[in-house]
Symmetry: C2
Subunit: 421 residues, 2 copies
């Protein structure tokens, strides 16, 4: 297959004609800095469709013998060969939820069995929807279905849905028969730009978010941007919190692009969304390739998450969406960074401005108290030998640190400023 590699110095432009137009285009400029990205030049065609298929953009996650591609594009669920080349064995279990199943399960079943895969049989399990079901009881339903269906080690699990489905299906795949293959088909901005990439899987415990899980990489991630057409606004906006995060921690050019194009993203301009997803995946893939198991660098992807997880756990799983909690948590991390004297006030203002324009919260729920934050943050995964390490901004825009070496007074002052005592 021919491939065209775009060098980091090349201006990258997403061809609008390749994207599903929603008639609400807003002028978009693309920064000149880009990442090395290969684009498949040979269209993959459905054997039952006469539609012209657009080749996907491909971002590679480089992890040696666990490397895998992220396919990004419109209509990818209508390109069966794309998915089928990553299905091993003859048995597939699609894990999805009550909200996504009516929308995309048929398409997915068709993509898995159509054309070249007549001998593949597909089962599916439909879980209840929402963060509050991301627990051991729901996980057991996946195992029950897999065992009842007599799926063996050569089967493939497919996660069809948002971050909760991806995390649970991934952990189920990591654990079923001590590990089977799995594929991510993320259907939300949040999962397309963040949670489906990099192999973090898991479930919540009543006392802490994502406390039980595994690092387990998928065979591929298939991002069909058409699935965002059915995404509720609140979910769409929630995902933008993670997009903005990449700009803040490591990609100032992208943050500036986001400042200019936030209106286009909110208006769901397909070209803007496609670019934001691709650039986010490139950032995530780059970090994960360097530090798969979060010994250091990867932790920086959790900017705002320590405060955010405390909000999710303390306020009740599912009350706020993950991205909403991360947005408020990001404001708190940025506030603390400023109190430490590590960043200019202009960054504090820019972060607040873009989150407000994105209609994301910039303060935690009123019911959160200082002691709730402290007690939940004490079990954060980034605590080491009793010391809470945080991701904080330091220096010019696009720079951060992961450190336990900070003045405890600044943390206390931030908690007091954002929650009642």
């Amino acid at each position: 297959m021919a491939a065209n590699t775009i060098s980091p110095s090349t201006t990258f432009a997403v061809s609008k004609s390749t994207l599903h137009s929603r008639g609400c285009l807003i002028p978009i400029c693309f920064p000149s800095k880009s990442f090395s990205t290969s684009i498949s030049m040979s269209p993959v065609r459905s054997c039952t469709s006469q539609l012209s298929m657009t080749p996907p953009t491909v971002v590679e996650v480089d992890l040696g013998n666990r490397s895998y591609p992220i396919y990004i594009g419109a209509g990818l669920l209508h390109q069966p060969q794309l998915l089928q080349r990553h299905v091993h064995g003859k048995r597939v279990l699609v894990v999805t939820n009550e909200r996504v199943a009516p929308l995309y399960l048929d398409n997915t079943l068709h993509a898995l069995t159509n054309c070249a895969n007549p001998n593949v049989t597909v089962e599916s399990v439909i879980l209840p929807d929402g963060e509050k079901f991301k627990n051991m009881d729901t996980l057991m339903k996946v195992f029950d279905k897999a065992i009842e269906s007599r799926l063996d080690r050569r089967c493939t699990f497919v996660a069809l849905g948002g971050g909760v489905i991806g995390d649970m299906c991934g952990y189920a795949a990591a654990s079923y028969l001590r590990g089977v293959n799995f594929i991510q088909i993320p259907t939300t901005v949040m999962s397309q730009v963040d949670s489906s990439v990099g192999g973090k899987t898991g479930i919540n415990h009543p006392l802490g978010k994502n406390m039980i899980g595994a690092f387990y990489q998928p065979q591929c991630v298939l991002v069909d941007t058409d699935t965002l057409n059915t995404l509720p606004d609140r979910e769409m906006v929630s995902g933008l919190a993670e997009v903005i995060k990449y700009g803040l921690i490591r990609d100032a050019d992208f943050f500036e692009w986001l400042e200019k194009n936030i209106a286009a993203l909110l208006a769901r301009d397909p070209a803007a969304l496609a670019y934001a997803i691709k650039r986010s995946c490139e950032n995530k893939a780059d970090v994960v390739s360097q530090d798969e198991k979060e010994s250091g660098l990867r932790a920086t992807l959790n900017l705002g998450h320590t405060f955010g997880h405390a909000i999710e756990t303390g306020f009740g799983y599912g009350e706020w969406l993950h991205g909403e909690a991360v947005a408020a948590g990001t404001v708190m991390a940025v506030d603390m960074s400023y109190r430490l004297g590590w960043i200019d006030y202009s960054i504090v203002e820019r972060v607040n401005n873009i989150l407000i324009r994105a209609k994301l919260p910039t303060t935690p729920p009123e019911s959160m108290t200082v002691s709730m934050f402290k007690s939940i943050m004490a079990v954060d995964k980034k605590v080491a030998d009793g010391l809470l390490r945080l991701i904080l901004l330091k220096g010019p825009l696009g720079n951060c640190v992961f450190t336990g070496d900070y003045d405890r007074e600044a943390l206390d002052a931030t908690l007091r400023a954002f929650s009642k005592s």
Copy 2:
């Protein structure tokens, strides 16, 4: 530290003076074939004990950056430095059960905190005892304790007990915060010769044994042979089924040694037990080093286990001990191998004889039916694309195959011969 490597061609003799004598010595001969084994020559001393400490025998499991030692010897729980060198971080969680805790928990806590480790704090969780508790509900108790104790990623889990505890603690360690360090302290023959080595961890599902788990290697395995002093006879004998297995699948010399020394093992002669444990660990380590994730060779360690797991699942977890089910399963696998014309009848007789002398069952429980075997074996982890692969003996003693290429009639005939229709 000085080390003495014994080459494969050197006669290996365990010094009886190094072992805890129980006054029931029976003449033991050691075969001339041995494995490369390093023995630490510098005694490790407890800072609170004036007892002369015997250095342990060390068997290495060679898995690149996941390699680890198996320490084997009497009194190793009284050598704190041995354990402490493998504890990372300052927090430890000992996972044990109601039967083992009164016997060895204090010793273990002492070994973890004594001397050089004043800043280490140790928590413990005591689970109910037995295979029927090897499930998700019990596993959650480990997570509950870990989270309530605010254990972080730098903590170490310690499995103190038999195979059930080792499997559950290992899977909990693999999953807690997506993976923390763990140490195995096996206290039964079964766990010392088999389950503690090689990183297979997991729990049972009502429909199948060990269906949920992970491949996850410990930091070290510490086999204190003194812990066998309190082991009930039935448990001791159960472990011998796995010892005999190593001889059958890959070590004819060892099988012959076992035929000569089975009485000494049943009489708990310390030198005989120590040699059988060491030789079993060497065989296991050798196989695991070549095939960690069971893509082929490692499956041969499951001789008799497909039939055996069906007995355990069908008859009820915990009704028969694992080794008892494996013994009956081994007889069935050997019977089938003979029906296929792959082995001489003399092997069938020798297997039956040694198991009978070991007081192990050679037929499944009477309540097992052909259809129970078939339905449970259909979800065995060795099924691939619907085909059940089995470990069967083929050729001279000490040779086996892992294959799905066998006459189905032979399997049916074996099932009919050993269970009612």
